[in-house]
């Protein structure tokens, strides 16, 4: 085999999460009470536009979750195969041009020269000048003159490609809809533009169109230039920001996945059994809650760091070590963040178990487990769902802050927090090195904004208090 598959811990959990979501969709398909709120979400224009953006992020994150180690070329002597110590993902392969074109040091976005002067050899004399980049704009003969016209032409080509792709996509959607509703395509297109379709297709297609345009621009320009510039060691910032997406998503989702079983189980148990069970569970979460979150995380990560440094033999590659730390960060973030949900569930269960149908069930002699599983759990699921989507954006933002404090993800891992942290040290330079920082902020902002807007729509649809109004 030309490569060796590597399944990191977080990869495995991501697969599990995807499986859970698919299972839930299959389960919910036939249940009208579960479908109704989702239909309301689907009708919301804001939510669908956000969903389109989130899909792109998730797709990139998933592509980045299939890891393997390629064979080292030429090292396979005597039938023995060596695998590279570097763990790659499918995303790395797809964006190989971005990953491999490493410059010497900082360069601005679309630059053809390095950011700082170096001593160059010209006609036998040593001159201090800005050296040409090895890859960025390397196809230009005369960069000062040709650069802007080249960028404009490439942009034009990219726009045409993007629009073409979008037209094909929009046409396909219209065609499928026309067949589904058995009416003329022109009619469907007219409905779509006026926003009369069941799903807000005009908003979805506009968002998708915008995203396609961005992708086309990034591909076409990214092959010739460093669109977001390069960082201190000359790595393409666009590549770093793309790789950071997975880290952000993992923290936002796996943290919840890790803490959910505890929060749900303990919250319902406290509310249902009351008495000493309630006392113990309340004690546990008040204690955990009273430790300042950042400090608990810091203490736990410091401990982990010491442990990892004294046991280096446990990790085959750097990626394994970074991954372990990421997973541990998710777990510890989960420990600090499950208390809120647990308290909510306890309160709701207390209320529910007073209601007649549960009293009736226990009068009929239905077992505790069955009452919880059949009667209580489905009736608190909306709280779980709402808090899961609401927590996501906060967790993504928390990652950046924790990395700044020095207790975030591994410094070797690509993450927005690490990008900001590295760029912060260059703030004092003149002219300022702004691109890394801006790229991280913009990508983070778009993800968090989309998640916030989407979670608002989900909350409006699922919260029974809001539904009545």
């Amino acid at each position: 085999m030309p490569f060796k598959l590597v399944i990191l811990w977080t990869d495995a959990l991501i697969y599990l999460l995807v499986a859970v979501i698919i299972a839930f969709i299959l389960y919910a398909r036939g249940k009208e009470p579960l479908r109704a709120p989702w239909r309301q979400v689907a009708r919301s224009r804001m939510a669908m536009a956000s969903l389109a953006v989130l899909f792109v992020y998730v797709a990139i994150g998933l592509l980045d979750s299939f890891h393997f180690r390629p064979v080292v070329q030429g090292a396979a002597k005597g039938g023995e195969v060596h695998y590279s110590p570097e763990v790659l993902s499918t995303l790395d392969v797809l964006v190989a041009p971005l990953r491999e074109r490493v410059e010497k040091s900082y360069s601005e976005p679309f630059a053809t020269h390095l950011y700082s002067k170096e001593t160059l050899e010209a006609d036998g004399k040593a001159v201090r000048d800005y050296p040409r980049l090895e890859f960025g704009g390397a196809h230009l003969k005369n960069p000062e003159q040709d650069r802007w016209s080249d960028i404009m032409t490439t942009t034009g080509v990219a726009v045409i490609q993007g629009v073409g792709l979008w037209l094909v996509l929009a046409g396909t959607v219209a065609g499928v809809l026309a067949r589904h509703h058995r009416c003329a395509m022109v009619q469907i297109i007219r409905d779509m533009i006026a926003g009369r379709t069941a799903l807000p297709w005009h908003v979805i297609l506009a968002t998708v169109g915008f995203l396609i345009l961005l992708a086309a621009l990034a591909t076409d320009l990214g092959l010739k230039y460093h669109v977001f510039g390069t960082d201190k060691v000359g790595q393409d910032v666009l590549y770093q920001s793309l790789k950071s997406i997975r880290t952000g998503l993992v923290i936002g989702t796996l943290t919840t996945l890790v803490m959910l079983p505890f929060a749900v189980l303990l919250g319902i148990m406290a509310g249902y059994f009351r008495g000493w069970v309630d006392d113990v569970i309340q004690y546990v979460y008040t204690t955990l809650n009273s430790i300042p979150g950042v400090l608990l995380i810091a203490a736990a990560i410091l401990t982990l760091q010491v442990y990892m440094q004294t046991h280096p033999e446990m990790f085959d590659t750097i990626a394994h070590r970074a991954d372990m730390r990421l997973l541990f960060l998710c777990v510890i973030l989960g420990i600090t963040s499950w208390t809120g949900l647990c308290r909510l569930l306890r309160g709701e269960t207390l209320k529910l178990s007073e209601i007649d149908y549960i009293q009736a069930a226990s009068a009929f002699g239905v077992g505790h487990f069955r009452i919880i599983a059949r009667h209580i759990l489905p009736n608190v699921m909306h709280i779980v769902l709402i808090s899961v989507v609401l927590d996501f954006s906060g967790l993504v933002l928390a990652e950046a802050v924790l990395s700044y404090v020095g207790v975030g993800v591994d410094p070797t891992m690509n993450s927005w927090g690490n990008m900001i942290n590295a760029a912060r040290l260059e703030m004092a330079r003149e002219p300022i090195v702004w691109w890394s920082l801006s790229a991280a902020f913009v990508l983070m902002f778009v993800l968090v904004l989309a998640a916030n807007l989407f979670s608002d729509a989900v909350r409006d649809a699922f919260d029974p208090r809001l539904r009545k109004q």
């Binding site: 009273s290 300042p292 950042v294 400090l295 203490a299 401990t303 700044y404 020095g406 968090v448």
Partner: protein
């Protein structure tokens, strides 16, 4: 009232014991003093003698829970648990791993922290309530709709960006105030202004939205309908009746965090180079000074519990319907 407070304080003790046990486990059981010494002295090429000396100097060379060699009651007291963990209850923080007295440092550093956290807190609440009232007054109009959208946008920006952006814009570009640093006395003002402004700006998004929800919830209640039915003007309803009643959830939400102001803000203090407790904690984390981190964890927990007790008391003060027995 008084017996209730006593009881609440007694309830706090087991929680603090729990916190203490968690920190003890994290710092001493999962992570042996040997490892700590090795981290501090450099990972490789450390002689066992150096480790022993480091541990002895800081009192980490005792058994964890039970000292079988010591005489009499010292079997229990001459241990790491008693000396390092239980001593926190008496606020005996002892010396940090770098030899400085932690209690002295905390006392020195609390003032700069308060100088920033207190104005951010109070001015922030005022600003947020003002915006939220405006949005509630213009509810279901475009002002309200776009206000909410703006809040969501503000909420989606990373806190680090507010700090870096603010520092760049006001400190470096406009050069109105120094970018970072701190000085005591009257001069403190020019160093404090920027962190305070940024702290307020950071909280506007989520704060305003939260208060708006409270106001809207309050406005759906019966007494508001009665007030309108008897012909009161809308501003009067809003400012006289709704605001007063909404103060109950607002106040109780604010009281919880009040004691924690003391701890300062981790991020902004270290960005602005303010010698407060927040940057103290960050420095401790970065230099892996476990003694300081342990002290701050305990202090933070105590303050949080004080906040909880204060919240319960403030309930009875602002809401005469609640009686605590």
């Amino acid at each position: 009232m008084f017996p209730y407070i006593i009881r609440r304080i007694l309830y706090a003790i087991p929680i603090l014991v729990g916190v203490n046990l968690i920190t003890f486990t994290l710092f001493f059981v999962l992570n042996s003093p040997d490892n700590m010494a090795r981290m501090q002295l450099g990972m490789k090429h450390v002689t066992p003698e150096a480790i022993a000396a480091w541990k002895h100097e800081r009192g980490y060379d005792k058994p964890l829970l039970y000292n079988s060699e010591a005489p009499g009651p010292e079997k229990v007291t001459d241990t790491i648990f008693y000396k390092k963990s239980l001593a926190l209850f008496a606020f005996q923080f002892g010396a940090a791993d770098d030899g400085r007295d932690i209690r002295y440092d905390i006392r020195q550093r609390m003032w700069p922290s308060l100088a920033i956290a207190v104005p951010v807190f109070f001015i922030g609440i005022l600003v947020n309530i003002t915006f939220a009232l405006l949005m509630a007054f213009f509810r279901a109009t475009y002002i309200d709709l776009w206000g909410v959208v703006l809040c969501v946008i503000l909420m989606s920006i990373s806190g680090l960006f507010y700090i870096i952006g603010g520092q760049y814009l006001i400190g470096k570009f406009l050069q109105l105030v120094p970018i970072s640093g701190y000085q005591g006395g009257v001069d403190a003002f020019k160093f404090v202004v920027l962190p305070v402004l940024i702290g307020i700006a950071q909280g506007i998004g989520s704060g305003t939205r939260w208060y708006r929800t409270i106001f809207l919830e309050e406005m759906g209640k019966d007494y508001v309908r009665t007030a309108r039915a008897k012909g009161l003007a809308e501003p009067l309803v809003l400012f006289k009746h709704v605001l007063k009643n909404a103060m109950i959830p607002i106040l109780t939400g604010a009281v919880v965090v009040l004691p924690l102001l003391f701890m300062g803000s981790l991020i902004s203090e270290s960005f602005f180079g303010i010698p407060g407790l927040g940057s103290y904690t960050i420095d401790a984390i970065n230099s892996q000074d476990f003694a300081k981190v342990r002290a701050m964890v305990f202090l933070g927990s105590v303050l949080y519990i004080v906040g909880l007790v204060l919240t319960d008391i403030s309930y009875t003060l602002v809401d005469p319907r609640i009686r605590l027995g």
